[in-house]
Symmetry: D2
Subunit: 267 residues, 4 copies
C-alpha cells in the first residue's frame, strides 16, 4: 500500500503561491525558423498549492519537463519545439493532464549564441547571451510570458572625457532587459538582445582583429555614455518596440573603482 501524504490536510491551512522544482538541468531542442538548436537549460516549474492539501507531487512536474523534451535528447529530432516559449507552454499543457492546479509557471534559463559580423574585417564572431523565458498560466487560464536577456557591453564616462581633454575611463557593463507580455505577443529574444547591445557605448565581440579593435575603440570614444544613458536608451527603445511591462537594469563594472554603479527603471 502506498501512502499519498501530499493529499493529507496540513496542520497549517495556508495556500502557497509557488511550489515545485528548481535548478533542474536538462536538454531542449528548438527548431527555430527551420534550424534546430540544442540547449542545456536550467528549468524551474511551480504550481500553486491550495490550503487543504499538504503537498504537491513533485515527480509529476519532472515528468512534464521530461515528457516535453524527451524526444530532444536523441539525435533524430521527432518533435523539436519552435521556441523556448512554446516549450514552456508545452510543459504546462502536460502538467494540466498530470497535476491539478490553478496557477502554473515554467522558467527556462539558457545561453543563446548569435553569429555577428565584426565591424571592420566583417569576420563572423559568435556572441553569447544569457536568456530566460518564463511562461505563466494565470488563475483565469490566460497565459503570459516574461522574457529576459543579459548582454555584455561597455560604458565610457562622458564626465571624465569632458574634464580630461578626451581621455576617460572605460569599463565592461552588463545590461538586462525584461519584458512581460501576453503569451501571444511576438517578442523575439534576438530583438531584445539587439536593443540592449545597441545601447552601450559600443557592442562587444568575441573575435576582434586589429582593424576591428580600432573600430570598436573609435566607436567607444564617439559614444561616451553614463550607465544612466545606457539604461535610458534601452528603456526608451524597448517601450517603443515591445508591447508589455518593461524592466531595465544596467550595471557598470567601473575600472576606476572596486564597486559597481547601477541604473534601473521599469514601467
Amino acid at each position: 500500500m502506498e501512502f499519498e501524504t501530499q493529499e493529507e490536510a496540513p496542520l497549517i491551512r495556508e495556500p502557497l503561491r509557488r511550489v515545485g522544482i528548481t535548478n533542474l538541468r536538462s536538454v531542449a531542442k528548438i527548431n527555430w525558423k527551420g534550424k534546430v538548436y540544442t540547449f542545456l537549460p536550467l528549468f524551474e516549474v511551480t504550481i500553486d498549492l491550495p490550503a487543504e492539501k499538504k503537498g504537491i507531487h513533485m515527480s509529476r512536474l519532472v515528468e512534464s519537463i521530461t515528457g516535453a523534451i524527451s524526444e530532444a535528447v536523441e539525435e533524430e529530432v521527432m518533435e523539436a519545439h519552435t521556441s523556448l516559449e512554446e516549450l514552456g507552454r508545452c510543459i504546462i499543457k502536460r502538467l494540466e493532464e498530470k497535476h491539478p492546479h490553478r496557477r502554473a509557471e515554467v522558467r527556462i534559463k539558457t545561453h543563446l549564441i548569435i553569429p555577428r559580423k565584426t565591424p571592420a574585417s566583417g569576420r563572423t564572431s559568435y556572441e553569447p547571451y544569457d536568456v530566460e523565458v518564463a511562461i505563466i498560466k494565470n488563475e483565469d487560464g490566460s497565459f503570459e510570458k516574461l522574457l529576459r536577456v543579459k548582454v555584455t557591453g561597455n560604458t565610457v564616462c562622458p564626465h571624465a572625457m569632458a574634464n580630461n581633454n578626451g581621455k576617460t575611463h572605460i569599463q565592461r557593463a552588463i545590461g538586462e532587459l525584461e519584458v512581460r507580455a501576453p503569451f501571444e505577443v511576438e517578442i523575439p529574444l534576438e530583438e531584445m538582445v539587439d536593443v540592449v547591445e545597441g545601447s552601450f557605448s559600443s557592442p562587444t565581440y568575441t573575435l576582434l582583429k586589429t582593424p576591428d579593435e580600432n573600430a570598436v575603440v573609435r566607436r567607444m570614444f564617439e559614444n561616451p555614455k553614463f550607465v544612466e544613458d545606457v539604461a535610458r536608451e534601452i528603456f526608451s527603445k524597448a517601450k517603443e518596440r515591445f508591447k508589455g511591462k518593461i524592466h531595465v537594469r544596467v550595471v557598470s563594472q567601473e575600472s576606476i573603482h572596486k564597486h559597481d554603479v547601477i541604473a534601473e527603471t521599469w514601467s
Copy 2:
C-alpha cells in the same frame, strides 16, 4: 574649469527610478544593546534621477556611506550606530545634505553571528546567518524598511517516511523571510531568524557533540516536513509576529535528486 556633465540635459528624457552604487564593501560598527559588533557589509545606495538631468554624482553617495561609517573603522568607536536600520537611515540623512533626490534607498548585506546553546550538552555554538537591511525613503518623505534573513535548516520527507516504515530522506534546506514595514515598526532581525530556524524539521548547529547530534536526529525524525510545511510555518508565524508585508521562500536541496524543490508565498 570643471565640467559637470551630470547636470546637462540628456538626449533621452526619461526619469530613472534607481541610480547609484552597488557591491561596495565597507565597515560598519553597530552598538546593539550595549555591545559593539563589527561587520564588513556590502552596500548599495541608489536615488532617483529626474528626466532633465543626465546623471547623478556618484561620489556623493560614497561620501554618505563613508561619512556615516568612518568612525567605525578606527578601534575607538566614536559613534557606533544602534542598528543596521539606523545606519541605513543615517546614510540617507547625509545624502539629503549632499544630493537632491525624491526617492532614496540604502541596502546593507552582511552576516550575523548569534550564539546558541546546543540541544543536549548545552555548549555554546556560534551560528551564522545572512541578513539584508534596506531603508527606503519614499517620495512623500516616509521611511520604510525591508528586512531579509536567510537561514540554513533541513527538511525530512514525511511521504518517504510513511512509505518506508519510518525511514526517509533528509536534506539541508534554506529558508528566506522578508518583511517590509514602516521604519518605526520594531522588527528585530534575531526574531526573524528565530521564526525561520524554528520552522524546519530541526535547527542546525555549528558545534554538535555526539549527544547533541543524537538530539538533532531524534528531533528530525519526530518532525518530518515537506518544504511546503516549512514555508507555511514561517509564513504563518511571521504574519502573527511582524506587522508588514511578508515574503517567504524555502529551497530544499534534495538528497535523492540533483535538483532542488521550492515553496514560496507572500502576503
Copy 3:
C-alpha cells in the same frame, strides 16, 4: 600602419607560463559513437610567453576556437568532433599554425546529460553532470589530458545511525574526480561519472516515482557512508580503472550543520 605592440620587448623580462583567453562561451558539436551532441561550453585557451615578447596575440586564440567549432554552429554538421578531447587537440593544432608557443593548454567546461533507468519503475531519467576536459601540450611536444567530473550524490552518517537505532542524518554530497593522463589513454567521461556516482550511499535521480523513491531510501539506509568512505571508494576504484594521476574531492552538505564537511586525496 599597424603597430604590433605585442612583439615589442617588455620592460620586465620574465617568461609567463599561461597567457590567453578565459570564460569564453561558445558552441561545440560532438559526434560520439554515431550520435551528435551539442554543448555550450566555457573555453579557456592559454599559451606560454617568452621573456622577450611583450604580449601574445589574443585574437589568434579566439580564431583557433572558432575555427575548430565554426561548422558546429550551423545545423548541418560538416565535421563534428568525436570527443571533447579531440576538439581540444584540434584547437591546439590550429593554434600551431597561428601563434608560436612552446606550451599550450585548452580547457573546456560543460554539462553532460546521461539517460539512466530509475531503480524500481525502470523509467528513463536524464541526469546532468558537470565535466571539464583540459588538453595540455607540453614543451617536449607530448600531449596530456586532464579530465574532471562533478557528480551529485548523498552521504548517510553511519555514526549517527549506530547511536540512534538506525535513525541518522542524510544529505546531498558533491563528488569530484580528476584524472591526468597521456592523451592516448582512453578514459571515457561516462566511466568517470559512473565511478563517482556508484560510490555514494545512493545515486540520485532527476525523476523518481514513489516505488523508485522507496528504493533509493532503502539503498541509502543499507549503505551508510561518511564523506571519508565516499572519497576512499572513488579513489580506490579510480586507481584500479584509470591509468593516470588521480585526485578526489568530496564535499558533504551536512543537514545538521550550516557548514560542509570535506574529504580529499590524490595520488
Copy 4:
C-alpha cells in the same frame, strides 16, 4: 553507550590527505599593531586520516576553531590574536590536544579594509581586499603558511593605444598573488596588497572626487599595460620582496569582449 564509528576499521584501507570541515563562517578578532579588527571569515580545517581509521571526529575541529576565537565574539576582547596567521596556528595548537593527526591545515578567508589617500584631494578612501591565510603543519612538524590577496585594478591596452592615436580600451582587472613560505618569514598581507595594487595601470579607489578621478584617468593613460605586463610586474616585485614560492594570476575583464583575458605564472 556511545558508538565511536570513526574509530572502526574502514572497508577500504586508504589514507586520506585532507579531511575536515569547510565553509564554516565565524568571528575573529585580531589585535594588529595595537588596534583590534573584527572579521567574519570562512574557515576550513582539515587533518589527514590514516588508512586504518574509518573517520575523523569532525566536532573536535569545530571546537578548535570556536575555542580559539570564542573570546572574540564578546565585545571585551580577552585575548585578541595578533594576526590571522597567529590565529590559524592557535587553532592547530588546540587541535593537537583534541585530535591525533600527522598533518593539519587551517584556511581563513576574509575581507581586509585598508584606508588610502585619494591621489589629488587627499581624502581618505576605505579600500576592500579579499585575503586568504592558510597555515599548514607538515608531517615533520614544521609550519608553513600560504598567503593570498586579491586586488581590483585595471588594464589599459597599449596595442590599441598605439594604433588609435592615444585612444584605447580600458577595463577592470583582478590580480591575485599567493606566497608560500615557512611560518616564521614575515610577510604582511598589506605589503602583498601593495605589490598587486601598484602593478596595475592605476590603483582603484572607492571614493573619487572629480580632481581624483582626473588624476586616475591621467595615470591610466600614462601607464598602458597588457594583462601580461601586470602579471610580470607583480611577479617580479613579489620575488624581490617575499621569500617563498610565488604564484601570480591576473584576469582582465575586457571592455571590448564578452570574455576575459588571463596571465598566470609561478616560481
